[in-house]
Every structure is written in C-alpha cells, then in structure tokens.
Amino acid sequence: MNLWIRLIIYLLAGPIVGGLLVGWDRRISARMQSRLGPPILQPFYDVWKLWQKQNLVARRPQNLYIVLFLLLVIFSGALFFAGSDLLLVIFALTLGAIFFVLGAYTASSPYSFIGAERELIQMMAYEPLVLLTPIGMYVVTKSFSVHDIANHGSLLVLALPGVFLGFLYALVIKFRKSPFDLSSSHHAHQELVRGITTEFSARTLALIEVAHWYEIVFLLGWVYLFFASRPLLGVCASLGAFLFVIFVDNVFARLKWPAAIRSSWAVALVLGFGNILVLSLLQG
C-alpha cells in the first residue's frame, strides 16, 4: 500500500478504532462487574461533551503541553505505520509522554503532581520492557525498521516469546490499568483524585482522551508486529492482547509503586533479556 494512503488511513481511522476499543473496554468491564455498561459510542459522546465545556486551568501554560503531547503521540504512531525505525518511534513516544508529565507538573496541584511523579515511575517501569522489544526483533531480523520487521516472513513471537510476554506486561502499565493504575485512576473519588489529569478540563481533557485512542491503536499495532507474517492471526492476537489487559484490569487491585518497578524490571530481566540472551547464544 502506498505510504501516504497508509498514513491517511491511520490518521482518520486511528481515533475511530481507538474510541470503539475504549467503548468495548467499558462495556466488557461493566459486564465483568455485572453491570450493563454504557453504549459502545460513549467515548465519542464524552469527547463531544467535553469539547463544549468551559476551559478552566490552574496555570496558564499547562494546556500547550497537552497539545504537544497529542502531536507527538500522533507523530510516533505515524512513524510506526510509515514503517520507520522502531527506536525512533519509542523516542518520539517518550518525548510525548514527558510533555504530558510536564503539563501535570505545571498545573501545580498536589494531585496532578503526585500523578506526574507516579507517571514517571510507570515510565521507568515499562521503558526497559519497551526498549527490549526492538532489540529482540533486531536480533532476529537484523533491522530496526518496522517495514523490514513486518516483511521478515517468520513468526517473530516464536523466537521472542519472553519479549512478547514482557511487552504485554508493559502494555498493562502503559494503559494505566490495574494493578498499575498508579498515576491516574478512572474514578476521581479515590485518594489520588484523578491523578495526572486532575487539573485538565474541557477541550484539553478531550485531547488527552483522543491521544489515548491513537496510543491504543499503535500499541496494538506493535503487538501485531510479533505476528506480522500471519495477518489474520496478528489481528486476533492484538484484540486478544486488548482483552487480556481488560481482564487483568478487572481482576487486580492497585499495587504500590515499588511493586510496579520491581516486578516489571524483574520481568524485563528474566523474560525479556533472558530471551535475547538465549537467542544470541543460539545464533553464536
């Protein structure tokens, strides 16, 4: 497919697919909790409603950070679907996430402050897992480019089972799902209030939501990459991964931050690095 067509599809369809996935997430979660749940289109209604609200801020510059955050999330997704270097994708995504955190710091409320600190802890927790993924893929395919990896022809997950499980672990942290919803809780009536997004309202909050939709799509695209040689299997695996994250979210209670770092670094070391170690020893 032409590069530009692919990019336009991502830019237009990305938020729609992401929003629908979030709608399903809420519906499935509700069913798991014996509730009926909102309509599938509820996330879109929410964003639409947020867009009409009055924009309140605690500190003036805070909203610009969110615009940059959204831009960079879209940008890193575009890099990914354009088939560029996986490491670059990670760097762009990290830069975006840092802007999000700095926005929360700028807001200067104690709840957004704690949310920002904890978001950084979560980043520190998942970063090794996320970085080990392209390294593992490089060891197998000898390339960092998404294009080359997708066209490699072998089922990467067979060579990289540990790295794949590690990536799923990172996905739970990245999506801020229980047990790792440390930086932002979905319901603002807890000790954390709303965490990192406490002081964002109206359009800005809507932008954060849209950024999240893009993020979901492109991180699931990343899951697909492990199965790229069998497209159908890949799509199923991506949706399966999303269901897995929802399931985990509903089964666990929130853990404390030391558990997040300890466990994810242990997973990165044992599963992720162990996998790469075995591979490179086999390749000799």
Binding site: V57, S112, L120, I121, M124, L131, L132, Y138, P258
Partner: protein
C-alpha cells in the same frame, strides 16, 4: 596553520603565568577575555579546516626538551610528596615515589636512545577534543569571572580570595588538556596527564576547608594510582617494542601491546571517574562551580575517555575490551540509579556525568567502528549540555543560596532565563531529538551489533535517566508559592556563557550531521576503514521532531493572554481554597499550606548500598582485566 597546536598548548600556560601576577579585577577580565577569544578562534579554525593541517615537527633541541620534561616531572613529584607528608597520607607518598622512581629510572637509562618521529600529532579526533576544550572551556572562563567575584564578595566572604591563583590554574589546566590531546610522545602525554591531576587537586582544595582538603586528597590519590598504571604502561611498551609513540601503540598487534593498553585503560578509568573511582568526582563538587563545570565537561574526565577511545582499536574483540566495557556498563546503571536518590543538584549532575562516561567507556571497550563513532558523539554532546547545566546551577546557588532541587520549585517564575536554559540543558541530556539521545541511540545500535548482551545496561540505565531528569524539569515548572522575579539574573560573562552554551546545544543538534561527516566519520574511517552514520530518512524525522519541540516556547508567549477564553481557577486541594496561592481550609477550618516534594525512591534504592556494590563489582572487573592482560 602549522604551528597552531603548539600555540594552543603554550598560550594558556603563558596566560596562566601572567594571571598569577594580576591582582586587579579589571585587568584580569580583559586578559581572560582576550586569551579565551584567541583560543576559541584558533580551535574553531582547526575544526573548520582540519584537512589543511600539514604534519609538523617541533625543531627544538631534543636534549633540553627531555631535560625540561624530566625537571617538571620531578618538581611535581616533590610537591606531591610534600603534600602527602604534610597531610599524613602514606599512600600518596608511596604511589608518587613508585611512579617518580620508575619514570626517572626509565628516562635516565633509556631516554637518550629513544627514537621519536613525532612528539605532537593531529587528527580529527584531536581536533574535536581541542574544540570542546577551547569553546566549552572558554565559556567556563568567562562565566568564572563574574561567578568568582560574587563568590568572594557576597556568597562566601569567609574564604580567602585567591583569584589570581584560581585563574592561573584554570588556564594551566586548559593548556595541559590541549597538550594531552595533541601529544604523540607518551612521555609528554603522561606529563600533561599528571599536570591535570595536580591542577584538579589544587582546584578542588581551593577553599581549604577540611572537606575540600579531604576530597582533594582523595582525587589526588585515585588519579595518582591511574598515573602509576600509565607510567608502568610506558615502560612496558618501550621494553616490548622500543617505541613510546601513541600512534605506534594503536597500530601495533594486539597480543604485543595488550598489557600496556590495559594499563592505560585503567588510567583512563580512574580519570574518567568510573566505579570504583567515582567518589573523587562526587567529592569534587565542594569546589566553586566553574571548577566542577571544567572537570565534568571539557577537561579531566574527558581526558580519561579520550584515552580509552583512542585505544579502542587495540582492545577491540579482546577479553580486556569486554571487561572495560562491563566496567562502563555497570557504572552507567549504578550511576543513573544513584542519581534518582539524591536531591542535591550538583550531586545529581555528578552522578549523571559518571553514568554518561560509563556509556563512553562501554563504547571504548567494545571498540568497533560504530561504537567509537557513537562514543565521540557522546563526548561532544555531553560536554556542551553538562557544562550548561553546571553553570546554571551555579547561578541559582548564588541567588537562592541553596543547591537543593526542592528549593528550585517555581524557578520558571523567579529566574525565567536561567530556568529555561536549564530546561534546554536537561532536554539536551535525555530527550529526543537532542544530542545525548541521538548518541544513546547510536550507542544502542552499536552495542546490538557488537554484543546484544550488553544492551541490558543501556536499557535499564536509560530508564533511570529518564526519571531523574524529568522530575527535576517538573520541579522547575511547578509554581506553588507566590514568588517575585529575581532581578539581575546574570552578569555579562555569565550571560555570554549560558546563552552561548544553550545555543550550542541547539546548534549541535542541527549541525550534527555536519559534525559527524566532517570530523567524526573521517577519523573513524581512517582507523577502521568503515564508520557508523545515520540514514538520511532518520535525520529528516529528527528534524521534524525538533520542529515540534520548537513549538514549545509558544507557552511563554501565550502566558497571561487570552484571559477570556481560558479561565484560571485555583487548583483542586481537597478543601476550600483560601486566598494566596496554595492554601486551603482543611477539616475544622484550619488553614493548611500545600507542599509538594519529588519522589526519591529511597524505599527502593539506597545510595550507599549502590555505591558500595558498584565499587566492589567494578573493582573485581578491573582486577580481572589486569589479570587477563597479563596472561
């Protein structure tokens, strides 16, 4: 063109000697500014036309030159022994004696037989180091003029004003660093190496408090240990090959020169403050800020990594190289983790230096073309960004009378210029598309190709790096108490240095393809016959990211306007907000103040524990390295 390197070495020494006699502040300002300008211009000239430099010879009577070198060495040895005796440190005396006896014996018994084709040499790597030394060092000197005046007049009137001595040492330090990068004769290299050791000892002990004295002595003893290894390497190398030229050493067969190369790497590791020797650099921050900036960015530690990267082709693909790389890797991870646990700004910077140098040492140990290319990139970007950060912290320390990061909250309102420059420096240290991240990316690619197992250090170290920089950035942006802008943030010299370095941080990213293709790649090509580089497409993407980052200053322009579209309200505090900036009525109507403190993860990470185990493991690796080299 031809006499530029000797000029660059001699001019700072001469300027240092003059400054020792200058008591007037005005005269000192003029002299320092002029010499700095000349040195900067000369190094830039070298960098712009590296191809035009012909090979040159120094045609001074060799006999007198050798005698002079020996005399300086003996004089320094006597002084160090005197220091050791006065401070009752037998270790210093012992190491110095061993080193001096070895060198004097060597020069007396072999000195007249040694054939040396060239005492000095120049290539692109030397030019890069000279450029960093001249430009970054020059910025520090200009900054030091204002800083030291304030230091003695308002900040620390209790210390004796020894500014003539201070500036003389700064210039001698710079001269020695030029000597170090241009020297081909290992005895000269060693002489300059020892001068930097001695200068750093004197500068760290500048204030002459007990703490300063102790830390200076610690720096001395560790660097002398490296010096001893250096001396042993020279003797061994000569006995094996009959040469004392650096170029010959690099071009020699591995098996023949592995031991001297290992000993020189050891010397480099002490100077680059790798574990277990990192404590000297952490202790060095008792000195005035320009000294820290100098030690951390353009001289001293960079001398250590310079030597290791020079030797990279010799140790490549050997067990010695692997062990050197492991020392660097372990230091990178431990240094990054330790930086999380401390709230003292200079200490965070010091740990970050130790960690980043670890990454460079890792590259040197791997020794492949790609790794060396990435290592040189790291040297350049680290020097600029780290120097900027030190200079900013120095200014903040003088204005706020604290170097605690917690005290910097709201700096964006109190000192907007310095805060923005600090943010630039920090972004330069860890965010895409700035220099350090480009280099880390290059390192990661080099390491994956050479040995995928070593990526584990980079992966974990980088994650920790992200945490401690980002929370510091956040602290500067977070405004909780109503605070006034502090007038008169910067003096003239400080202004030039800090603005110049921030612009350099951007320019280094924009012109990085040029720096790489004009300076770094030719060097790596000449040594390895191949080189690392970035593909054109990735550079375009980095450019796009830079464009997005450059949107960021809009947030400052927008500040305070458009009041009718976006409404400002008090933040949510879990109670009724009270007038004033962050207070609320808690239960029972009691007014509560809001305070926010960064996380230091001390429940998880213990600084002392990290340092101890880092030191133990690196000491074991280093012992292993020497043993392996002997076998």
């Amino acid at each position: 063109m031809a006499p530029l390197p000797p000029l660059l070495i001699l001019l700072p020494f001469a300027a240092g000697a003059c400054l020792l006699c200058v008591r007037s502040d005005a005269l000192r300002r003029i002299l320092v500014a002029m010499v700095t300008l000349v040195v900067c211009a000369a190094t830039v000239l070298l960098a712009v036309r590296p191809a035009a430099i012909p090979n040159f010879r120094v045609s001074i009577n060799r006999h007198w030159l050798d005698l002079g070198t020996l005399a300086v060495e003996v004089a320094m040895a006597l002084y160090v022994i005197y220091v050791g005796v006065r401070a009752k440190r037998p270790l210093i005396v012992a190491i110095m004696l061993a080193q001096a006896v070895l060198m004097v014996w060597f020069e007396c018994s072999y000195g007249s037989h040694i054939e040396i084709a060239r005492n000095l040499f120049i290539d692109n790597f030397a030019v890069i180091m000279a450029l960093i030394n001249g430009v970054v060092g020059g910025a520090i000197f200009l900054y030091a003029l204002d800083y030291m005046r304030q230091y003695h007049q308002s900040a620390h009137p209790e210390f004796a004003d020894r500014r003539p001595f201070f500036f003389a040492l700064l210039f001698i330090f710079m001269g020695a660093m030029f000597g170090l990068v241009f020297a081909n004769n290992l005895i000269w290299l060693f002489l300059f190496w020892e001068i930097t050791t001695l200068c750093s000892f004197l500068l760290i002990g500048y204030t002459q408090t007990d703490e300063a004295r102790n830390n200076a002595l610690r720096a001395l003893v560790m660097n002398l240990a490296g010096g001893l290894a250096f001396a042993a390497a020279i003797v061994w190398f000569y006995r094996k090959t009959g040469s004392i030229e650096l170029q010959t050493l690099i071009a020699s067969r591995q098996s023949l020169v592995l031991l001297p190369a290992a000993l020189l790497c050891f010397a480099g590791i002490t100077k680059a403050a790798q574990m277990p020797f990192s404590s000297w650099l952490l202790g060095a921050m008792v000195a005035p800020t320009p000294v820290s900036a100098l030690l951390h960015s353009s001289t001293m530690v960079k001398a250590g990594v310079y030597l290791i990267l020079r030797l990279a082709p010799v140790v490549a693909h050997t067990r010695v190289g692997l062990l050197v790389a492991l020392v660097g890797g372990v230091t990178f991870v431990i240094g990054s983790l330790a930086a999380i646990t401390t709230s003292e700004a200079k200490r965070v910077l010091a740990y970050s230096t130790v960690a980043n140098l670890g990454l460079i040492v890792l590259c040197g140990g791997l020794g492949t073309a790609e790794a060396v290319w990435a290592g040189i990139l790291l040297i350049i970007f680290h020097a600029v960004a780290k120097c900027l950060l030190f200079l900013c912290v120095g200014v903040v320390e003088h204005k706020l009378h604290s170097r605690d990061i917690e005290a910097m909250s709201g700096l964006i309102v109190k000192m907007p210029q310095v805060a923005v420059m600090m943010l630039v420096g920090m972004a330069g240290m860890f965010l895409a598309p700035f220099g350090m991240l480009i280099s880390k990316w290059a390192v990661l690619k080099a390491v994956v190709d050479a040995s995928p197992m070593l990526t584990v250090f980079i992966v974990f170290g980088s994650s920790a790096t992200l945490f401690f920089w980002a929370k510091w950035m956040g602290k500067l942006l977070q405004v909780t108490e109503s605070s006034e802008r502090i007038g008169n943030e910067l003096g003239a010299g400080e202004f030039i240095a800090i603005y110049g370095l921030s612009i350099a941080t951007f320019l280094a990213c924009l012109f990085f393809p040029l720096i790489s293709s004009r300076l770094i790649e030719p060097y790596v090509l000449s040594v390895y016959g191949q080189s690392g580089s970035f593909s054109h497409g990735n550079l375009v993407i980095m450019g796009l990211m830079m464009a997005i980052v450059l949107l960021f200053p809009i947030s400052f322009v927008n500040y305070g306007r458009r009041a009718n579209i976006i409404k400002t309200v008090g933040p949510y505090l879990g109670g009724a907000n009270l007038p004033g900036i962050e207070r609320f009525a808690g239960s029972g109507g009691v007014a509560q103040n809001v305070t926010m403190q960064n996380y230091y993860l001390r429940e998880l990470l213990n600084e002392a524990w990290l340092s101890r185990w880092g030191a133990v493991s690196c000491a074991m690796l280093l012992t292993g390295m020497v043993v392996v080299a002997c076998l």
